[in-house]
């Protein structure tokens, strides 16, 4: 059964066979019925015809004489063993009985003399050994001899034989056609699937080393083109993801270098000679700082690598936008005031988000805004309901970010200024975490910068029904 379910070729061949057999058999049966009806009609017509002939024939007294003297003539006239003919004058022994097959005589009410015979007058009997038997009786005016009763019948041996052979032929043809179709179907499908097997072989050969290779659509049937295109598009995406992943690993390794180098160097230098307790304490505190930096980076990397969005989505709540904005303003009040930045928080509406993730995203944006904001300027965080849901924005005054950097800001470890000293508090992951959080919420994030104002926007979709 398993083989049947899994082999398309075998399945199609069998379906072909079955369809061919069924359709040909149905056609055969329909034709058979027609033929049978036609044969019955013809046979019945022959019987009626015989009676009609006898009606004409027996009007003549010579003919009656002939019956008496030469019954063999009638036997010959009827011609074969299946025929039956009796002529009886009322109440007397039959004038003529032609019954070479010794068929049982049916008792039939004769059709009246003045009524013309029709096919409906023919009676059908089950007959002998399953061979149908048809008979018709009529009253005939024979002039001086008065009325005679004529019964004629026929055992339909010939018809039965014809129909039987017809039946056998129908089944035989249907079977042969089914087998032929199954075979040709098998071959056709097998051949038709050749390109698929070729593609499979090709796909099999594509690995990590040659992700740049694409499936060849040349010579492939049109039906397969969408699949090939989709597969190639998937390879594109995979390839891109792979490159990105490799890049991230490299970047992360580089990022790890700095804290590890500090740890290693400082500790080794410290161990060169005996030092005061204070110096050791200083070293250890410095080590803790570097280690915390590593731990934070680890935490961020794991956060970005987490692939399952459902748990985050399940914990979404309806949050008051004004409250959340104010919370951000409160949180960053100190660091902002240090550099003379005033935070203005405003907005209204409802944010449908997981609170911790929302705050993390906003905090990352605000931290950046303060870090890169011009001293003694204003930082505006705002929320406005929009068509999709709610739009949160963080605007700061500061150096304009060149347009070519904007689309890449949300990539991991991307930095506008490569030479900028990497501070212990920044690891180049902040904005990519924002992007991931927005992706988890099916929202969007974007950045724009012109005339000294840089704006980051987050759009959270509104709560849908049933969520």
């Amino acid at each position: 059964m398993n083989g049947l379910r899994h082999s398309l070729t075998l399945r199609l061949a069998l379906v072909f066979a079955l369809l061919a057999f069924v359709s040909l058999t149905l056609l055969g049966v329909a034709l058979y019925r027609d033929l049978e009806r036609e044969l019955i009609r013809r046979d019945d017509a022959a019987l009626v015809n015989r009676i009609d002939q006898l009606r004409t024939f027996l009007n003549d007294s010579n003919a009656l004489e002939l019956i008496r003297t030469k019954p063999a003539l009638f036997q010959n006239m009827l011609g074969n063993r299946e025929a039956l003919l009796t002529i009886t004058s009322a109440g007397q022994t039959p004038l003529l009985v032609v019954n070479p097959g010794n068929l049982p005589l049916p008792s039939l009410a004769p059709v009246a003399m003045d009524r013309p015979l029709s096919l409906a007058d023919v009676q059908h009997y089950p007959g002998v050994d399953g061979i149908p038997f048809a008979a018709v009786a009529a009253t005939i005016d024979s002039g001086d001899m008065g009325s005679l009763q004529v019964l004629t019948g026929r055992l339909m041996t010939e018809r039965t034989a014809v129909l039987a052979s017809y039946r056998i032929n129908v089944y035989l043809f249907a079977s042969v056609a089914a087998v032929l179709l199954a075979l040709s179907g098998y071959l056709l499908v097998h051949r038709g699937l050749l390109p698929v097997r070729r593609l499979a072989r090709h796909a099999h050969g594509i690995g990590v080393g040659n992700l740049g290779e694409r499936l060849d659509s040349h010579g492939a049937p049109r039906e397969l083109l969408p699949m090939i295109d989709a597969f190639n598009a998937m390879l594109d995406r995979l390839g891109k993801g792979f490159v990105q992943l490799g890049q991230v690993s490299t970047d992360m390794a580089h990022e790890l270098r700095t804290p590890i180098n500090n740890l290693l160097g400082e500790t080794q230098v410290a161990l060169q000679q005996h030092r005061s307790i204070d110096a050791y304490q200083q070293l250890l505190a410095s080590n803790v700082e570097e280690l915390e930096r590593l731990a934070r980076m680890l935490d961020n990397m794991l956060f970005l690598a987490r692939t399952d969005p459902s748990s985050a989505l399940k914990q979404r709540q309806e949050l008051d936008a004004a409250d959340e904005m104010q919370r951000m303003a409160d949180y960053f009040e100190g660091p902002a005031a240090d550099v003379g930045i005033h935070i203005r928080a405003g907005g209204s509406g409802v944010i449908w988000a997981e609170p911790m993730l929302l705050r993390r995203a906003l905090a990352n944006l605000c931290a950046n805004a303060i870090k890169y904001g011009a001293p003694h300027s204003e930082l505006v965080i705002d929320a406005t309901p929009c068509a999709e849901g709610i739009r949160l924005s963080v605007d700061n005054h500061g150096p304009t970010i060149p347009a070519e950097h904007l689309p890449r800001l949300f990539e991991r470890f991307y930095r506008v200024d490569e030479s900028r000293e990497r501070s212990a508090n920044s690891n180049g992951l902040g904005l990519s975490i924002v992007a991931t959080i927005m992706q988890l919420h099916n929202g969007t994030c974007s950045a724009s910068s012109q005339d000294g104002v840089t704006r980051f926007e987050l759009v959270f979709p509104a709560r849908r029904q049933g969520e």
């Binding site: 200083q282 410095s286 803790v288 731990a295 935490d299 919370r327 100190g334 660091p335 990352n364």
Partner: protein, 223 residues
């Protein structure tokens, strides 16, 4: 407070043992799951610190068997930042968890919370040296001088005053004062503490807020 630490990693076990002993706790260390379970059932501990990843009998198994006989509070340590893992631990009857790497101060704070008996009553008046805090009226005076604090500064001071003598990590402070439960790449806590110091410490002789290098802050009358 009696603490059992079940940890197979030698370095981790040692520092947990030393660190907790130095804080004045009575600590037993078990270096594998079977020993940990044995000790947990033999003696009466106030709290158990249980590492999950251990050879032979892992933390889950220890927890499962322990919960059949005792309801000692258990804090488990896991290196896997996996929600399913955490849920599993809590379902098996653990009371809290920490993900490695964790800060030692955080561990101590959690252990204190777990062993705190009975409901905590919110103090209406707090007094630390010459600093007085009226929690209900949100009024601060030090040496008779009224000090005005912003809401967050008050929350920070209140947190310090209710955890007198304990070292509070930056992430714990961020979580309690601003409800920010993640390590943000900012110095918000340091700035806030500096501003608080400006108001309640700088004008006075006795300093109450102490930096603990590499860990966080401690609020205490002792330097």
């Amino acid at each position: 407070m009696n603490i059992l630490v079940v940890e197979d990693e030698p370095k981790a076990g040692n520092y947990l043992l030393n660190g907790l002993q130095e804080l004045g706790y009575c600590v037993s260390l078990a270096r594998d799951g079977a020993d940990g379970l044995h000790q947990a059932l033999e003696h009466d501990f106030d709290v158990i610190v249980l590492d999950v990843m251990m050879p032979k009998m892992d933390g889950w198994e220890v927890l499962r068997r322990l919960r059949k006989e005792a309801d000692t509070p258990v804090l488990f340590l896991t290196a896997r930042d996996d929600i399913a893992d955490r849920i599993k631990g809590l379902e098996l009857g653990a009371d809290d968890y920490l993900i490695k790497p964790f800060s030692f101060a955080e561990l101590v704070a959690r252990l204190r919370t777990l062993t705190r008996r009975g409901p905590t009553r919110e103090e209406e008046q707090l007094q630390v040296a010459d600093l007085q805090i009226d929690v209900l009226k949100r009024r601060i005076t030090r040496a008779g001088v009224r000090i005005t604090l912003t809401n967050k500064e008050f929350a920070l001071l209140h947190l310090f005053a209710t955890h007198q003598g304990q070292v509070l990590s930056r992430s714990m402070i961020a979580s309690r004062v601003w409800d920010m439960n993640f390590d943000s790449d900012t110095n918000v806590v340091d700035v806030a503490v500096r501003r608080l110091r400006l108001k309640i410490d700088d004008p006075f002789q006795l300093k109450l807020i102490h930096s603990v290098r590499g860990i966080g802050y401690r609020f205490d009358t002792q330097p």
